[in-house]
């Protein structure tokens, strides 16, 4: 579904991403993990059209979309959430999700200005769809509350609801479990699995290793902007270079020592 080929991006001489490649499939959950500063969010920013890569290519559904601006990628079925919560705080939860439906709504500024009946009908349709999503993510009680008043955990789910309203083929989730307590994380577990179950290709950036090992079909490990390893959770767990990257060379020696003894 989403294919990334030899992506390179530099910031003032520092290579944040160095020839990163991977591919995701429909209905699959692919997680990207790595120490802080490994380039995970940067990768998302390039893929979602916010940054331009110096070289490399991005394919969406087989189509070359390298360098395309974010709003065009949305039309092609790519959606994402943000690590630092880019919620529309002045709008209600319902309106936030309705924004996610933007690409499915009827355009035409003149008809909007005149408030034509067709627009009212579409508005109601959008509202219904948005409410369903809010329901799905247990946010229905916040529908008419300004997002600024919502608790943190709810806001994380709101971003997901908004991203889903787009009806994406590929969904990028940037640290959805960050700042969540164990029960919220368990909830997310279910939500993400359900989303993948509908055929969406989910790509996850996360620090919560337990969540990642639990739900991922495939894991990509980044370190210093390079892809260190790729494989199933079991393969990654026992990969010595991954352990070394996270815990340092001493830990690898320790482990070898323990296993050897």
């Amino acid at each position: 579904m989403l294919e990334v080929e030899n992506l390179v991006i530099e910031f003032g001489g520092l290579r944040a991403l160095d020839s990163v490649s991977f591919r995701s499939e429909r209905g699959q959950i692919l997680s990207i993990i790595g120490p802080n500063g490994a380039g995970k969010t940067t990768l998302f920013n390039v893929v979602s059209g916010l940054y331009r890569p110096q070289s490399g290519r991005v394919f969406l559904g087989g189509r070359n979309v390298t360098g395309m601006p974010a709003h065009q990628l949305a039309h092609l079925g790519l959606s994402r959430t943000f690590q630092n919560l880019q919620v529309f705080f002045q709008m209600t939860a319902l309106e936030n999700v309705m924004v996610g439906r933007h690409i499915h709504e009827k355009r035409g500024v003149i008809s909007h200005l005149l408030g034509l009946p067709s627009i009212t009908r579409h508005n109601t349709q959008s509202q219904i769809a948005a409410l369903q999503l809010l329901d799905q993510l247990r946010l229905a009680s916040y529908a008419t509350i300004p997002a600024g008043s919502m608790p943190f955990g709810a806001l994380k789910r709101l971003e997901i609801a908004r991203a889903l309203a787009l009806q994406p083929d590929v969904l990028l989730l940037d640290e959805p479990a960050a700042g969540c307590n164990p029960s919220e994380t368990a909830e997310l577990d279910e939500i993400i699995k359900d989303i993948a179950g509908t055929g969406v290709s989910v790509i996850l950036v996360e620090h919560d290793i337990r969540l990642v090992m639990d739900i991922s079909n495939e894991i990509v490990v980044l370190n210093y902007g390079r892809k260190l390893a790729q494989g199933s959770p079991i393969e990654i767990q026992s990969n010595p270079s991954v352990i070394e990257a996270y815990l340092g060379a001493d830990a690898t020696r320790e482990r070898a020592h323990v296993e050897g003894a």
Binding site: F11, T41, N45, L50, Y51, Q83, N84, Q86
Partner: protein, 290 residues
Amino acid sequence: MSELLQFLIAGMTVGAIYSVVALGFTMIYNVSGVVNFAQGEFVMLGAMLSVAGITIGIPFPVAAMIAIGFTALISVTLYDLAIRPARGAPMFALVIITIGASILIRGISKIFFGTSPQSLPSLLGNTSINIAGAVLQPQSVVVVVSAVCIFIGLHVLISKTLLGRAVVATASNRMAAQLSGINVELTTRLSFALSAAIGALSGVLIAPITLASYDMGTMLALKGFAAAILGGMGNPLGAVVGGLLVGLFEALSSGYISSQYKDATAFMIIVMVLFVSPNGLFGKSGYERV
């Protein structure tokens, strides 16, 4: 040839003033992240307050110094009353506040000083010097030389003194500076005071040539801003170069194209720079962090 020289002289003179205004913008922007639209008003205040001082009998040099000091005080008050309380406010709120401040100052000045243009004494007398057919006012020399002194003085201050280091640190990372023991509030206040002082000084120096009135601030702010962004917002050297370039473009277009639209040059420059190279001549490009 003498005509060209004349325009160049005029351009350098006003350019020097734009440079100083631009430098003031840069200083405050670096230390507080705010573009202070009131910067132009400081130039006006320097001139008008000096005139007021002379009118009530204070000798010119003393009146000028009092004017500069008072303007610096107004600047710090502006920071304390209007900008500091709005810390963390969204961008448009800060824009509106500084615009409001500049109009407030302008409005109060109109009440106190009236609307007629005023002049101040030239520092080196009024006999013009003749250079290759072009006329050079001695005050022009004063303006340019003073501007150069201001730049050098600021440079020395920033790079050689503890205060200068504090300013750079605060500009770079406010919280880190604070945690290092720097009194960031004091540093910010001093920056505001200093940028106002140099603005006021330039007002005192330019008034003999271009006259001063309560509404000269807006145009100066616009042109100083154009200069600052031409050179790259936040870059002091850029401010200086930018100011000179704006002054020269203005004088040349006024002489050769149309004098009626001379003020439009600055606007044209802003427009062109922002489209071709939004970071100006010396600025760095940035990525928004998400």
